[in-house]
């Protein structure tokens, strides 16, 4: 019983992280048909920004590193993706790869390829127990952050005009433009949110693994991407669901696979994803506008 509960807590934790990655990727995909592989580098840059700013008071570190990531996200859109907006989705995809490699290698050049040990607020790794469940403080914090982020994002998308415009645009960008929705502002807004989500991931993720490296964004982006596909490309609710599903699968496999098989955990995970997509190729939540276009 306690063990199951423990797994559930873990699954929520891991899933929340993946959900935020998936949401950051899915948000951009929904309106631009761009799978932004450089999203992982937003996570990475967030980590390094905290490292550089760590001498400052805590809240200032958080605020400034958030700004750095948002500015980078907006800059990506302005410099790399806006000139290609009319281009084919594959062109955008390649551009995002180029951007991703450029940023990684730029950071290799500046900081070296070796991982730098770093954990913002290392006191977060203290443990405590409630009943018989061992809980790391970090998990509580990350879970709270995840919940706050999802609730905040939901409110933003439901209650504000720009949020409703963003949802409309992600369902059918052309129809949104036909209603007079300004493409530039909605896309910029989406990148800003996507950057904020990446920043939260970088906060939690760097604390979890306790180190930074230029390639640290690659794994989360791949898993986030898988979660987006699993949930249904273009659907925001789907992205969140997909994130939690991948998280749950991953924790379940961790718990159930025998010791010899555990190194192949991800292979099994992706095989399961394959299976789901074979049965339901459109993902968990199908997006109507996508069918017309693809």
């Amino acid at each position: 019983m306690t063990l199951t509960l423990q797994y559930a807590v873990d699954a929520l934790n891991v899933g929340g992280l993946y959900a935020m990655m998936a949401l950051g990727i899915g948000l951009i995909f929904g309106i631009m048909r761009l799978i932004n592989f450089a999203h992982g580098e937003l996570v990475m840059v967030g980590g390094y920004a905290m490292l550089l700013l760590v001498q400052l008071p805590g809240p200032l570190v958080l605020a400034l590193s958030l700004i750095v990531v948002i500015v980078l996200a907006l800059g990506m859109e302005r410099l790399a993706f806006r000139p290609l907006r009319e281009a084919a989705p594959s062109t955008l995809l390649v551009a995002s790869f180029a951007l991703s490699y450029f940023l990684q290698n730029f950071f290799v050049l500046v900081f070296g390829a070796r991982p730098v040990p770093f954990a913002f607020a290392s006191e977060l790794s203290t443990n405590f127990e409630i009943g018989h469940i061992r809980i790391v403080l970090l998990q509580v914090v990350s879970m709270t952050l995840t919940i706050l982020a999802l609730v905040g994002l939901t409110a933003l998308l439901k209650r504000t005009s720009i949020g409703v415009q963003l949802r409309a645009a992600s369902q059918d960008f052309r129809a949104a433009k036909l209603c007079g929705v300004r493409a530039n502002s909605v896309i910029a807004f989406a990148f800003a949110i996507s950057g904020s989500l990446a920043w939260i991931v970088s906060l939690i993720y760097s604390a979890q693994i306790g180190q930074l490296s230029p390639a640290m964004g690659v794994r989360p982006v791949v898993i986030g991407f898988v979660a987006t596909i699993l949930g249904g490309l273009g659907s925001l609710v789907g992205a969140v669901l997909g994130g939690f599903l991948v998280g749950a699968l991953s924790v379940t496999l961790e718990a159930t696979l025998s010791l010899q098989l555990r190194p192949f955990k991800e292979a099994v995970l992706f095989a399961l994803v394959f299976l789901v997509l074979l049965l339901r190729p459109q993902g968990l939540i199908a997006v109507r506008a996508l069918k017309e276009r693809v």
């Binding site: 409703v164 949802r167 409309a168 433009k177 036909l178 209603c179």
Partner: protein
């Protein structure tokens, strides 16, 4: 004195090209009704008229491609009625075609020289002459290019060069500026003047580009429904009330109030496939205009080009007197063009209220106005008021169509475009939708509706265009069109020009 040139001409030309009492009948419809026309060397004559007026038929009669049922064509006094086209072109009467019809695999030079060979020149002298004409038209740089590789504007000019190689005394240009942008049209205008200067020939131009016609021509003749209704200099034609009625619909005018929406020579292609090939239509303020045509005629492309979701290759779109061709979609919406797209384009996962909010996004600054406008729209569509909290995807087709129209109205459009509003709806619902459109139109909104289902679009509209294969085949008042056999021919594309046996 210039040295003798291959295109040196006998300038002492007195005669004229004359058509007298020409009538052509296609299956009971008079395509041309006792039309007279005179073209003198050294002048530029414009031949204009709404689509389907009989302009191309007249050119076809003059050049021998169509034998008239009545009437005579004389060339410098000689009767050429019913002669084979090649015999007519050897009498130095040349024409270009609406579609350029270059030999795609030949070079520009070869294309030009072939026409000379066609009228009996030796290869060498034809080539010499072709060179000279290409130089004259500033096409010499392109001489060795394959015709298939030419940009559109150059292609049209090579077509003219080819016609010139026959050293025409009379040159007939059938929509030479179709599909050209403003710059290309201006270049064309210069070219035509150069030709006039060098050849002193009589030039007749069929064109929908009124600017070009008004600027270029010495005299203009107007055809409507196969009859010549006016002849005069550009100023006289611009003032002529009969021309206004015929050409621009009841309220518009050449020099008077411009139409709210004017599309001029619009060409759109998807890769190698041309969807629109020089379409000109207009909507006057307060008018309800329909565009009908079979599947694949280019109707949706037209709508998307107007709202800016498709980039045209050529042509000009003017809204309320301003060119909007280069503006992004959302700016066009903000200027007052709202499109209800095919398939309605509601946001299925958003609630009805949220869909309406998006519709009002152009007026976010003014919350009070948005509230009032939303209330008014909800009064107009009571069913939407009941469903405000529901996701739009759960509405029935008819309700979604109402939502799409309501949403479009919230941007306070000056013109409402609808792409196949009756698609997928039950007959009763279609009636309702059209009642709404007519009511909106009475309230002063200009409406342009595109439909495959003809009768519905006819009943509501004050004017109709028939679009087929990317071209406007017919234009007119719906009740005139519906009784015309030409309409079916234009819509379905069969039983068209029945050419009498030669």
């Amino acid at each position: 004195m210039r040295p003798t040139s291959a295109i040196e001409l006998d300038r002492a030309s007195n005669g004229q090209l004359e058509a007298r009492g020409v009538s052509v009948r296609f299956e009971g419809i008079l395509a041309l009704d006792t039309v007279d026309l005179t073209l003198r060397p050294g002048e530029i004559l414009g031949l204009i008229g709404p689509n389907g007026a009989g302009k191309t038929t007249l050119i076809n009669v003059i050049t021998g491609f169509q034998v008239p049922d009545q009437g005579r064509i004389t060339l410098d006094g000689e009767d050429i009625t019913g002669l084979q086209p090649f015999r007519i072109s050897r009498r130095r009467l040349a024409r270009t075609f609406q579609a350029v019809r270059l030999f795609r695999d030949l070079t520009v030079l070869e294309n030009a020289e072939l026409a000379g060979v066609g009228v009996g020149l030796s290869r060498a002298s034809a080539r010499e002459r072709a060179w000279e004409i290409l130089e004259l038209l500033e096409l010499a740089d392109l001489a060795t290019q394959r015709a298939a590789e030419l940009p559109y504007g150059d292609e049209r000019r090579v077509g003219i060069a080819r016609a010139l190689t026959t050293l025409p005394r009379y040159l007939l240009l059938d929509e030479p500026a179709a599909g050209m942008n403003e710059k290309e049209a201006a270049a064309l205008s210069r070219t035509v003047r150069t030709i006039l200067q060098k050849f002193s020939c009589g030039i007749m131009v069929i064109e929908h580009n009124m600017m070009l016609i008004m600027e270029l021509c010495d005299r203009i003749q107007v055809l409507e429904h196969g009859r010549a209704i006016a002849l005069g200099n550009p100023a006289e034609i611009a003032r002529d009330p009969a021309v206004r009625r015929a050409y621009l619909g009841a309220e518009g005018a050449i020099a008077g109030k411009p139409p709210i929406l004017a599309i001029d020579n619009l060409a759109v292609s998807y890769g190698a496939v041309a969807a629109l090939r020089g379409v000109s239509i207009h909507v006057n303020e307060g008018e309800l205009v329909s565009v009908v045509g079979p599947n694949g005629a280019g109707k949706s492309t037209l709508m998307h080009a107007i709202s800016g979701t498709v980039r045209p290759d050529a042509g000009e779109i003017t809204f309320a007197g301003q060119s909007i061709s280069t503006l992004p979609t959302e700016t066009r919406v903000r200027k007052g063009i709202a499109l209800v797209p095919e398939g309605r384009g509601v946001f299925p996962a958003l609630t009805v209220a949220e869909n309406l909010l998006i519709g009002a996004v152009t007026r976010l600054g003014n919350q009070a106005a948005v509230r009032i406008a939303t209330e008014r729209v909800l009064d107009f569509f009571p069913i939407l008021r009941e469903r405000q909290g529901q996701p739009a995807g759960r509405l029935s087709g008819g309700e979604q169509q109402q939502l799409a129209i309501a949403r479009a109205l919230l941007s306070e459009p000056r013109i409402l475009l609808l792409d196949e509003p009756s698609l997928g709806l039950a007959v009763r619902i279609i009636d309702e939708v059209y009642l709404i459109l007519e009511q909106l139109n009475r309230d002063g909104v200009s409406v342009l509706v595109v439909e495959q289902s003809v009768m519905r679009a006819f009943a509501a509209a004050q004017r109709t265009y028939v679009l087929r294969n990317g071209l406007v085949e017919l234009e007119g008042r719906p009740h005139d069109l519906v009784s015309s056999e030409r309409f079916e021919a234009a819509y379905f594309g069969f039983a068209r020009q029945q050419s009498p046996s030669l």
